[in-house]
Symmetry: C2
Subunit: 322 residues, 2 copies
């Protein structure tokens, strides 16, 4: 199995949840290296049965720092040390739940882009009733040019093939109407380019299909992608909270009957299932985890990274976009 470096200092709940997540992944057979301050991490690792090697990094980048400047000014930041382990071939992938901007910046500077890729993009997997939908770009590039969309489409299709075993995944353009000619100037131009791209392009898809099985890969700019991603999270939480409030009005006996059903539901909806999102277009496997990641999410992000590396994700992407 591929070896994965985890930025153990990145994330709102680091390092406790990151270390617990790494331990959980190691227990599932994954090969994980912790990257971070050894004086903090070493005492935490002693408690775990699985062996978790530590690569020391003396600095940390906070969630609210200017990412590009921080990457320059803190060469020994945990996320940058993790990226260098990928660049140098010591590990096959790195995972970070820290500042997304910092992970993007260090991936660009340290690891570099694949030939044929103008902008690496974040490919997030959204739960749907059937096979998950890949949303790309979900946050790396707020301002996009139409020329990026065919690249996003090709890379998103590779993710759907590699992780969900789909052949000819259906690629849709996120838009405000189904007919050709809808949307901004950006979508109108992107539509033309996507028609000429060697993917299974099914045309425009609307926001309500984000959680449906109507499409396998949804292409959009990084601003729209990030907003809709957080919107689905907020809406799902809102509905779940309403359901809990409603349940609280039931008798204790009835609540006991409903609880197992709700727990099953939670697992199906859980955004922790994938734990992270691939940054595609980089010359290495990079997985960006949610800032609020629990140990469960971290373990699943490590699994996603290792599976991507084991399935030769980067070479398959390189072949497709070249």
């Amino acid at each position: 199995v591929a070896r994965v470096a985890l930025d153990a200092m990145g994330g709102d709940r680091a390092p406790l949840e990151t270390v617990l997540g790494a331990a959980a992944a190691a227990e599932r057979g994954y090969d994980v290296i912790l990257v971070g301050d050894r004086s903090i991490l070493a005492p935490m690792v002693v408690d775990h049965e699985s062996y978790l090697p530590i690569v020391h990094a003396s600095e940390v980048i906070g969630m609210h720092e200017d990412a590009v400047r921080a990457i320059r000014e803190k060469p020994d930041a945990s996320v940058s040390v993790a990226a260098r382990l990928v660049r140098d071939g010591i590990v096959s992938a790195f995972v970070s739940a820290g500042s997304t901007g910092a992970a993007l910046a260090t991936a660009a500077i340290t690891i570099g882009r694949l030939d044929g890729v103008d902008r690496p993009a974040i490919a997030t997997m959204l739960p749907t009733p059937d096979s998950p939908t890949v949303l790309i770009d979900s946050g790396a590039n707020p301002d996009c040019r139409p020329e990026y969309f065919p690249q996003f489409a090709l890379m998103g299709a590779v993710i759907a093939e590699v992780h969900f075993g789909l052949e000819q995944p259906r690629v849709g353009l996120l838009n405000i109407g189904e007919e050709k000619g809808k949307g901004r100037e950006l979508e109108k131009a992107a539509y033309e380019l996507l028609e000429a791209t060697p993917v299974n392009f099914i045309g425009n898809v609307e926001g309500r299909d984000l959680s449906s099985d109507a499409v396998d890969v949804l292409v959009t700019d990084g601003f729209t992608g990030n907003v809709v991603l957080k919107t689905t999270e907020g809406t799902a939480q809102f509905v779940a909270q309403m359901a809990l409030d409603a349940m609280a009005t039931m008798s204790l006996e009835d609540q006991k009957r409903v609880l197992p059903v709700l727990s099953g539901l939670r697992a199906r909806l859980d955004y922790e299932t994938f734990g992270g999102a691939h940054l595609v277009g980089s010359r290495g496997v990079v997985v960006i985890a949610h800032g609020a990641s629990s140990s469960v999410a971290i373990a699943n992000a490590i699994a996603l990274a290792a599976d991507g590396a084991d399935r030769d994700l980067v070479n398959r992407l390189a072949d497709r976009v070249a």
Copy 2:
């Protein structure tokens, strides 16, 4: 009470659901005029106890026609006849569940814009645990310039004041991070302009706060607004479907206990509650209803339009943006 014209021919489920909705609104004391083909509508109205006058319109604009061209080529379209009733002061408002583009076009051509408004915008009300959130623009202007955002903010605040009785509603800019300086060039420029606008601007707000009580008015461009609106619908439906699937595994006895609780939940989440969205910036009250509107949604859209007219919405908007 204000008199409202209903485009009885507009919508996926017209004219049956529109007529039923008008009848329901009339029974609640609203004053409604049906606009559409008399030969179709007259036999349907006979069945209802409430008196529903009909203004004849010989043409209909379909959901997939080119809206601007259709408005020009079909002067007797039901939506245009309804708009002329507003322009001529015969009614105080019009409601349409037909093509949004056609309603926007006829409002612009027939009724015109308020002074100080570059672009009329759609202000949609989203359910949240507490007071609803106004999302503006939710679809009228896919491509926006930063200068439109202060106008959206002022108009959205008036909607929150008029319909929810809020004083100094909190206005947020929909963005991909909370810090100033986040987002596209569009958001960076709009942020500066919003800081100088006489509204209670609280800064950037993320997609996950769309369903929260953190903000009262959410300002964004019409592309992003439309996509997130449909995303919340899709996600809520998805979660509801998952819940139903989970419930189906319970015993019939248990299902009977849970059903009343779920029904209450449905009412709180229901996007039919408001039935429609104000087109603000027009020189008249215009309410755009969901294309798939049921009679319940139509009745609530009529109520929204009448309440807006009764509360002097257009003059209050005119004073604010002048």
